[in-house]
């Protein structure tokens, strides 16, 4: 009987000494790990701590679980290799596990495939059947460009290479799977026809030893050309075109220089090698540092983006003014901080900053503005964009400070447009951004724009333009007026109209020339006859009259129009004041035509 039993009976609160007892009881209750081969008494000696004696187990190793399956059988199986060039003439034999599971299914397959002569017994066929080597699939060969005689003569002529030698080179390339080191090593071309040919030039050209660069250059030339022959460059897929381009741009001289350089690096001493290595390391470090340095500097500039102090400070002398200033600075600070976190390009997109008309809006959100102090604030704000960048910014133009450019733009334009990042042309195409003139309300159709173009022209011209377009197989109304197509069409249309205009002018000038020539002939005739035949002259003049009037009548509006339409106005300028031989001749003609018309009027 211990004290805690007593306490138990008396229902007294047990003190700290009561703890171990129940726990002990619990412990005895829990089953101990029953160590075999150890007497319980001995085990109990350890008490709470289990004894660290590992009992020796004197049991033999467990018997291997013998599989009931019969011993696996192996058989000497014949096989062929389909990667060989001799159509399975070589039958080799190797040991294969004879699998019970596979045989039936295989034989079923066999039966399926050999339906016509499926008389043989399964077992026999198994032995007859020769399977393909599992390694045949690893046989991969390079594809060497192929060409025929005709293609060679059309595309691949080279005054340093005969066809025979080119064939030889391509044969080697195929044999050695484009391993250039080996191709060059084994390259030993002796032309068979060279002895027969008397032309000494050919043989000398052929016999000179080729460098690896020569071989590569020729091969790439042939390969690129044949590639282009088989598939025009614009239809190639991306990787194909890349390959095509690299092969086309192979530069043997550069390769040679590179190899010379490599040779020099091979012969450098240990110290030099070490030096170079350390220099490379240093460069890497410097590069990494400049990046970080630039980053820090940008951060610093952002922080320095405070209003300059050279403005009037009188407005801040009152406590209210100071309050405003503080507010302002805090706002500026906030936005600056945010700016440094978010990407500079993204801030243009935040709507809070995009309030036009107020310069402060660039930095301060509009809901923070205090109405009562708005004019004062504006006085500060006016200085914000201007003084936003101190002289130090301008002093370091090399570092790309992104927000600087828009701010500078702001300064120039006053405070009107909010800052907006300019997209590069490439980005514009990526995002599908387009610029076009203002559109009217409601839906507009692109072809309407083209119709509008037509409507400005006279009926005759419209006809001519449609005729010209029909000649080009372009329908007057576009089937698929996408933006790009309409843009192109507009260009085409402009070209066609200017052409039509030009033709009109040309026709007119031709007519005038004809008239003048006729006149001149007449005049000469009259002079030759020594004024004898006045009647004749008059007659001829009368004859020319209708033609002249018709041409001039046609020409008049023509000369006027180009001046207004602007396409062909230079050629058709009626005034002789213009310079340039072409124009002058035209003007001369036109002036004479004026005279002739005057005379006709008389």
């Amino acid at each position: 009987m211990a004290s805690h039993d007593l306490r138990d009976v008396l229902n007294l609160p047990s003190d700290h000494s009561a703890g171990p007892r129940p726990s002990k009881k619990q412990k005895t209750g829990t089953p101990r790990p029953n160590l075999k081969g150890l007497a319980r008494e001995v085990q109990n000696l350890g008490g709470d701590n289990p004894i660290a004696i590992v009992p020796e187990v004197s049991i033999f190793k467990k018997r291997r679980i013998a599989s009931r399956k019969p011993v696996t059988k192996w058989e000497l199986k014949a096989f062929t290799n389909s990667a060989r060039a001799d159509d399975g003439a070589l039958v080799l034999r190797h040991w294969k596990r004879k699998s019970e599971a596979e045989t039936p299914s295989e034989s079923v397959e066999d039966r399926g495939s050999q339906q016509p002569d499926g008389m043989a017994v399964d077992g026999e066929r198994d032995t007859d059947k020769v399977d393909d080597s599992a390694f045949a699939k690893f046989n991969v060969r390079v594809a060497v460009p192929q060409y025929n005689e005709d293609q060679y003569h059309r595309n691949l002529q080279h005054n340093d290479w005969t066809k025979e030698e080119t064939d030889y080179l391509l044969g080697l390339a195929e044999d050695y799977d484009l391993r250039w080191a080996i191709i060059w090593d084994r390259y030993d071309f002796t032309p068979k026809t060279a002895e027969i040919e008397t032309d000494s030039n050919v043989s000398t050209a052929v016999f000179k030893p080729r460098s690896m660069e020569d071989l590569k250059a020729r091969y790439y030339e042939v390969a690129a050309k044949m590639m282009a022959v088989q598939k025009a460059a614009q239809y190639m897929t991306g990787p194909e075109f890349e390959l095509y381009e690299t092969m086309q741009n192979f530069n043997p001289d550069q390769e040679l220089r590179r190899k010379k350089f490599a040779l020099e690096t091979m012969s450098r001493s240990k110290d030099e090698a070490r030096e170079e290595e350390s220099l490379l390391l240093e460069i890497k470090r410097i590069m990494a540092r400049t990046e970080r340095f630039n980053e820090e500097r940008r951060e610093l500039y952002n922080r320095l983006d405070y209003p300059s102090t050279d403005s009037d400070i009188n407005s801040f002398k009152s406590s209210a003014g100071l309050q405003t200033l503080l507010q302002n600075l805090m706002n500026v600070d906030k936005s600056k901080k945010r700016k440094s976190i978010i990407v500079p390009g993204a801030e243009a997109a935040t709507p809070t900053t995009a309030v036009p008309g107020s310069a402060v809006s660039e930095t301060a959100p509009p809901n923070n503005t205090n109405n009562s102090t708005s004019n004062r604030r504006e006085s500060i704000a006016a200085s914000v964009p201007g003084g936003g960048h101190r002289d130090s910014t301008a002093g370091t133009p090399a570092t790309p400070v992104e927000p600087a450019a828009p701010n500078a733009a702001n300064k120039k334009k006053g405070a009107a447009p909010p800052e907006r990042r300019k997209l590069t042309e490439q980005e514009e195409t990526i995002y599908g951004l387009m610029h076009h003139e203002r559109l009217g309300s409601g839906p507009t159709f692109r072809y309407e724009k083209i119709n509008k173009l037509y409507s400005h022209k006279s009926g005759q011209q419209q006809l001519r333009i449609t005729n010209a377009l029909a000649e080009l197989d372009v329908p007057p109304r576009l089937a698929m007026p996408t933006a790009a197509v309409t843009a192109q069409f507009e260009l085409l249309w402009a070209a066609v109209t200017s052409l039509v205009d030009l033709r009109k002018v040309c026709d007119k000038l031709d007519g005038e020339i004809k008239i003048e020539e006729a006149k001149k002939a007449e005049r000469d005739k009259a002079r030759g006859i020594s004024g004898g035949d006045v009647k004749d002259k008059e007659q001829s003049g009368g004859k020319t009259k209708p033609g002249a009037t018709s041409t001039s009548g046609e020409g008049r509006p023509g000369t006027k129009r180009p001046a207004s339409s602007g396409g062909g106005d230079k050629l058709a300028a009626p005034r002789p004041s213009s310079s340039g031989t072409h124009k002058r001749s035209a003007s001369v003609l036109s002036s004479t035509s004026d005279k002739s018309s005057k005379r006709q009027k008389k």
């Binding site: 696996t72 290799n81 990667a83 060989r84 060039a85 001799d86 003439a89 070589l90 039958v91 080799l92 034999r93 190797h94 040991w95 294969k96 596990r97 080597s133 599992a134 390694f135 045949a136 690893f138 046989n139 044999d175 050695y176 391993r179 250039w180 080191a181 080996i182 060059w184 090593d185 084994r186 690896m212 190899k259 490599a262 040779l263 690096t265 091979m266 012969s267 450098r268 001493s269 240990k270 030099e272 090698a273």
Partner: protein
């Protein structure tokens, strides 16, 4: 624990890309000819390429080379490791591949004539069939196994064609392949691209191998190899003070231990018939080989052996004692370095007084100049890769310190480049590098498309070997 043994259900084919087709691998060299089964790690049979000729017949193997009357020792190869005597070559290879590798099996009981009285009704059908096979086998002894042979990289086209002719027509191999030693030696080292430095018995060669193909312009060879070293030792012994007599083992009948440096006290055997010079030379070579194996070492540096002070240092170091077969023995100190120094430094070679045609070393014959010339024969882009993959093979490279010296000299020659010399640690792997590579190659599953089959040979003639085994 970490590496679990493969269960039988997992076929090694899928794991290692191997596919055994019971091919034979034959690796002939000037000093020995190796043969065995593909897929094994060592050649089964290694016999000297020297064979005995007695009474008009040839006998092969190491054990038959014993002193006999009228016994001559010949070699079927010339010193360039190119087969010269094709009749003997055919016979010795046949001896190796047929007699030694595939010992004759007893005739099956139904064929040996002992069971003739039994009723043969059932067996008759089979018997006919087998008879045909037997005839085939008799005609073509190697009709079942593809054969892979190795050759020196400078082997002539004629010799190559002859090799395929023999294997296809005489032995009836179903498939044949001829591989150059440096290629297979680099395969044995697990590399497809390597600069193979092969210092063997008759020749030292340096060859660049790129993607499993020999670069022909890089092939360099010189006679500075095992036999040259033997001659150096001979010269060194002759010039030694006192002169060392070269008495091969077979000459000694009885010997008594003597002090170091003392003259030998041995009774020599006398033979009632003249001993052929060739036989004596062969036996002397055995002794010299033993000396090379146990005494000769390569100076490891610093600097060359001839640099001032090095020789004195070598003299002060503990030497090695070598006991001749006749009992005379001597401590070898600095000589054991000097003898091999000619491989690296042509000025240090012993100039033999009598035979000057072999002992002379020119500048371009040292191993380093071979390497240099070999590298100059390949494209610049390959060189650094080759230097980082140097494979050392051949039994003469087993000289102590050879690799250290090679490493040191290369580092001095190409200071800015990464140099890695790969030399197998096992003696046998270094001796049989080419054979092991051939064994690996011919048991690869992907190699089976390469074999020249009988059909291809029949269609194209022996010229196909030039076309295919490039």
């Amino acid at each position: 624990m970490s590496q679990q043994p493969l269960t039988t259900s997992v076929q090694p084919t899928e794991t290692y890309g191997g596919d055994e087709v019971s091919a034979l691998v034959l690796d002939p060299g000037y000093c020995s000819t190796r043969a065995g089964y593909a897929g094994e790690e060592m050649p089964r049979q290694v016999i000297p390429s020297f064979y005995g000729h007695i009474d008009g017949r040839d006998i092969f193997g190491d054990e038959v080379i014993v002193p006999r009357a009228g016994f001559e020792v010949r070699n079927y190869m010339n010193r360039d490791s190119v087969v010269e005597d094709w009749d003997a070559a055919t016979k010795i290879w046949e001896h190796l591949l047929l007699k030694r590798l595939q010992p004759e099996r007893p005739t099956p009981p139904n064929k040996n004539g002992l069971n003739i009285g039994d009723d043969g009704d059932v067996a008759m059908g089979d018997g006919d069939n087998n008879d045909e096979n037997m005839v085939d086998n008799l005609e073509k002894p190697l009709a079942e196994s593809p054969l892979l042979m190795t050759e020196a990289p400078w082997n002539s086209a004629k010799a190559r064609e002859k090799a395929i002719e023999i294997s296809m027509e005489t032995w009836g191999c179903p498939a044949f392949w001829l591989s150059r030693t440096p290629v297979v030696a680099s395969f044995a080292a697990g590399k497809a691209t390597a600069l193979v430095v092969d210092v063997g018995g008759a020749n030292a060669s340096v060859t660049a191998v790129h993607d499993g193909m020999v670069l022909k312009r890089s092939i360099q060879k010189s006679p500075i190899a095992g036999l040259w070293l033997s001659n150096q030792i001979r010269t060194m012994w002759e010039q030694n003070e006192p002169k060392v007599d070269l008495v091969p083992t077979f000459m000694v009948e009885n010997k008594k231990p003597v002090e170091a440096g003392a003259p030998a006290d041995a009774r020599l055997r006398t033979f009632p018939f003249p001993i052929a010079d060739s036989f004596r030379a062969f036996e002397e070579e055995r002794l010299l080989t033993e000396f090379k194996e146990s005494v000769v070492e390569v100076w490891r540096g610093p600097g060359r052996y001839m640099a001032p002070g090095n020789e004195d240092y070598a003299r002060s170091q503990p030497g090695r004692v070598f006991e001749m077969p006749d009992g005379s023995n001597q401590m070898w100190r600095e000589q054991r370095y000097k003898v091999s120094e000619g491989m690296w430094d042509e000025t240090a070679a012993y100039a033999s007084a009598g035979a000057d045609e072999e002992g002379r070393v020119s500048k371009g014959q040292t191993i380093l100049s071979l390497i240099k010339a070999s590298l100059e024969g390949v494209d610049i882009d390959l060189r650094s890769n080759l230097i980082a993959n140097i494979v050392v093979t051949g039994s003469t490279t087993l000289l102590n310190g050879f690799n250290d010296r090679l490493n040191m000299e290369l580092a001095a020659m190409y200071p800015g480049l990464k140099i890695k010399v790969h030399a197998a640690g096992l003696t046998s792997e270094r001796r049989f590098g080419a054979w092991i590579g051939g064994s690996i190659l011919s048991s690869l599953g992907t190699f089976h498309q390469m074999w020249i089959s009988k059909k291809e040979y029949d269609e194209n003639g022996p010229g196909i070997v030039e076309k295919r085994c490039k």
